[in-house]
């Protein structure tokens, strides 16, 4: 898609305000909570700390991508099944980090999972069921 944006607009503002993709959340505005996480060329970044113009010509994935063919992805199903969702505010960011991890070539262990989501804060779940959901999909 092609858009004109002012230079000072962050990717977060672009996604939420201009494109109405409200699944990307603001939690702190300074890259310390992960609620604004999106995938840039399949790598997790904080959209609140990324200028929109930086992603010119690049691939951005938000959580809608995971169910783009009309059904839940495995990771989304696993989150639902394992109780990994409580208030849901951290969920889109968590799902994207999980998705990026599972699709990377990394060997997955519990420690690797914890590190992959270490930049996403959650105040409700204590992370444990999120980790279980990711283990579920990674089959470990």
């Amino acid at each position: 898609m092609e858009l004109d944006v002012e230079d000072h607009i962050t990717l977060l503002e672009l996604l939420r305000d201009k494109l109405n993709i409200t699944s990307v959340k603001e939690g702190c505005g300074i890259g310390e909570c992960g609620a604004c996480t999106v995938l840039l060329d399949d790598k997790p970044i904080y959209s609140c700390l990324t200028l929109a113009l930086k992603v010119d010509g690049r691939d951005i994935k938000t959580v809608e991508y995971l169910s783009k063919d009309g059904s839940l992805s495995k990771i989304q199903e696993a989150f639902v099944k394992n109780g990994a969702v409580q208030c849901g505010y951290c969920t889109p960011g968590m799902l994207l980090c999980a998705y990026a991890l599972i699709n990377s070539k990394k060997e997955i262990s519990e420690d690797v999972i914890k590190e992959a989501i270490s930049g996403n804060l959650c105040r409700c779940t204590g992370y444990i069921q999120i980790i279980e959901a990711i283990k579920d999909v990674a089959q470990i």
């Binding site: 000072h8 890259g31 904080y46 200028l51 930086k54 010119d56 930049g119």
Partner: protein
């Protein structure tokens, strides 16, 4: 919210240097420090995004030991070249912030921001880092120690960018990086030690220690290094050497509240690192 500003994305080094020599600018790479700094400010100068400059993009294998300022922490942490030849730096980079920060934040940005708690700086210091600065009219090289002036202050002039950082491998040395944080991720180092130690079972041959987050600028503990070089491993000697570092810190910054816990912990860490085995 960020103030309104303009940002340009030059493609060549000539372009960026010309911009810097003619305008009030701020260089932006990953943006993870700068965009936090600019929050709620009234105004910002022209931002110059340097991440597309072709001359700054190369693979580590192509120029071993020469770091591009655009290398992200994540890239260095995962790169076989760095993990193999510069493990202290690779470890330090793997601990910065969080995966998202590591995917965007760069070595150049880490040096340029010059935070006392910057994680890449202590390892760069033990690898005797030399920083090449380019401007439209000049090229110069400074050691990292010369470059860092004070907390958040460097010798980098308004019209200069970091073009590369050259480091020397320490083959045969036991290398690593230890940091003290309040939690396991998304945390600044409250104390950090980068080390490279060449030793035999009973003797220190050559020791390199760089300490961060205790003084406004990271420093090489040269008095300790000299005291232990070519010495038989001895606990009393080690404690004396550590005491030299502690008094150097006290001499430099005076008594600080944070020293009440940082200095005892630093002492413990240095004992652990240099002794090699269990201190008890």
């Amino acid at each position: 919210m960020l103030p309104k500003f303009k940002c340009v994305v030059p493609r060549s080094i000539k372009e960026v240097l010309s911009l810097l020599s003619e305008n009030e600018c701020k260089v932006i790479a990953g943006g993870t420090d700068l965009l936090v700094e600019l929050q709620d400010k009234e105004a910002a100068p022209l931002l110059v995004d340097i991440t597309k400059i072709s001359e700054l993009i190369w693979r580590p294998e192509e120029r071993v030991g020469v770091i591009s300022p655009l290398f992200t922490h994540g890239f260095v942490a995962e790169s076989p070249v760095f993990k193999d030849m510069f493990p202290s730096l690779a470890i330090a980079c793997s601990k910065v912030g969080s995966p998202q920060i590591r995917n965007m934040g760069t070595i150049g940005g880490n040096i340029g921001n010059a935070s006392p708690a910057a994680d890449s700086i202590p390892p760069l210091m033990i690898y005797d880092a030399k920083v090449r600065l380019l401007s439209a009219s000049n090229e110069r090289e400074l050691t990292l120690e010369e470059l860092l002036v004070d907390a958040y202050k460097t010798q980098i002039r308004k019209d200069e960018i970091i073009a590369s950082v050259s480091i020397t491998p320490m083959e045969g040395y036991r290398q690593g990086y230890k940091r003290l944080t309040i939690r396991e991720a998304l945390a600044l180092s409250r104390l950090s030690v980068a080390y490279a130690i060449k030793e035999e079972k009973e003797k220190w041959l050559d020791v390199k220690i760089a300490i961060g987050s205790v003084t406004p600028v990271c420093f090489r503990a040269r008095e300790l290094e000299r005291a232990l070089s070519e010495q038989i491993k001895d606990r009393d000697l080690l404690d004396e050497a550590i005491a030299l570092t502690i008094s150097r810190i006290r001499g430099q910054v005076g008594a600080r509240e944070t020293h009440k816990f940082k200095l005892p912990i630093l002492k413990n860490l240095l004992r652990e690192i240099l002794w090699g085995g269990s201190w008890e």
